[in-house]
């Protein structure tokens, strides 16, 4: 973090961005988008046995406007896709997305006409968690990786929008 002690222990210097990011990563508020069995594992991760509160993420928000981490836990079908897109758009910047489990990451076993083949077709995804469903440890690991992104000021929602590419060559 680049914290320095000067003149004994009376002054601390640090970059403001580092302090803000440290505060941000230690109080990520997740939005639980649980649509299938991964949602049960996510609930388990949030509950007392695994206790996401240890990472400062116990304040689960059911309003996207109050959340900064979207955990998509479960199968997303075509009919749910616009809902997920709108939820993501309603979250305020900066925001991060975890695709939890095989279904959210790539459609999983559902190679059929109803299921979105990975939510990255709709929204940007910062972290993919493999598993069907992933264990709570896997979700917590991805959460700590997200914390690393937050601390270093990275995230797909922070990236500049890619320049529009003309679809017809001129």
């Amino acid at each position: 973090m680049g914290v320095e002690l000067i003149r004994g222990d009376n002054f601390v210097t640090a970059r403001l961005a580092d302090v803000v990011n440290w505060a941000r990563k230690s109080s990520l508020w997740p939005f639980p988008f649980g649509t299938a069995c991964c949602g049960i594992e996510m609930m388990s991760t949030l509950a007392s046995r695994y206790d996401m509160a240890r990472f400062g993420a116990e304040a689960v928000r059911f309003s996207p406007r109050q959340a900064d981490l979207l955990i998509v836990a479960g199968t997303i079908c075509n009919k749910m896709a616009p809902v997920l897109k709108r939820i993501y758009d309603q979250m305020s910047q900066p925001k991060w997305v975890i695709a939890m489990g095989a279904c959210a990451s790539c459609g999983g076993i559902f190679d059929n006409y109803t299921v979105v083949q990975g939510i990255d077709q709709i929204i940007p995804v910062d972290m993919y968690v493999p598993g069907c469903p992933p264990s709570p440890q896997a979700l917590m690991y991805s959460f700590t990786k997200i914390q690393g992104l937050v601390q270093s000021g990275q995230g797909l929602s922070l990236d500049p929008m890619p320049e529009a590419v003309p679809s017809v060559p001129v």
Partner: protein
């Protein structure tokens, strides 16, 4: 009441309606002609000895090679007030692709969603249904997924991801 007794009653009340009666593993199935389907269903509901007062499901089976392509299946149950075990009976009728059946929503309200699912997944129309639109797939979906000729992966049209609910007509 077994299949023979039920089909005998149906045949007595509506001559020529019942094509075949089957009893298999204790399950009763009647195959009826399409023209007299609704008459038979109304009779089964109202006859005091049979009294099929509940429609459990409306579904269909696709036989793509057959001229009358679809079996439409009505699963009826009789919830008895005398404490006896409920009696179930399945009514099957065959229709070709593109044909329509009369809706039975006026006999059982539970036919509403079953017929909509049948329409959504097989493309079978039910005349007289109050709100015959897709129930499971998005409104802008095209094709009928439970037909055996439907490709498993579907069209994967990106427009499906932009689904907006349409107002009922």
């Amino acid at each position: 009441m077994n299949s023979a007794a039920i089909s005998a009653k149906v045949a007595g009340a509506i001559p020529g309606a019942c094509v075949e009666a089957l009893e298999f593993q204790g399950q009763t199935t009647l195959q009826v002609r399409r023209e007299s389907l609704k008459e038979v269903l109304a009779f089964l509901r109202d006859d005091p000895d049979i009294l099929m007062n509940q429609l459990l499901d409306v579904t269909a089976v696709d036989y793509p090679a057959r001229a009358d392509r679809f079996d439409v299946v009505y699963i009826l149950a009789s919830i008895r007030e005398d404490g006896l075990a409920p009696v179930r009976v399945r009514i099957k009728t065959r229709i070709p692709d593109g044909a329509a059946l009369p809706s039975v929503t006026d006999l059982w309200r539970s036919a509403d969603w079953g017929e909509r699912e049948c329409f959504d997944m097989f493309g079978i129309r039910f005349e007289g249904h109050p709100n015959l639109k897709r129930i499971l797939n998005p409104d802008n979906f095209y094709g009928y997924p439970l037909r055996k000729t439907f490709p498993l992966r579907g069209e994967r049209d990106p427009a499906f991801l932009e689904y907006k609910e349409t107002e009922p007509a």
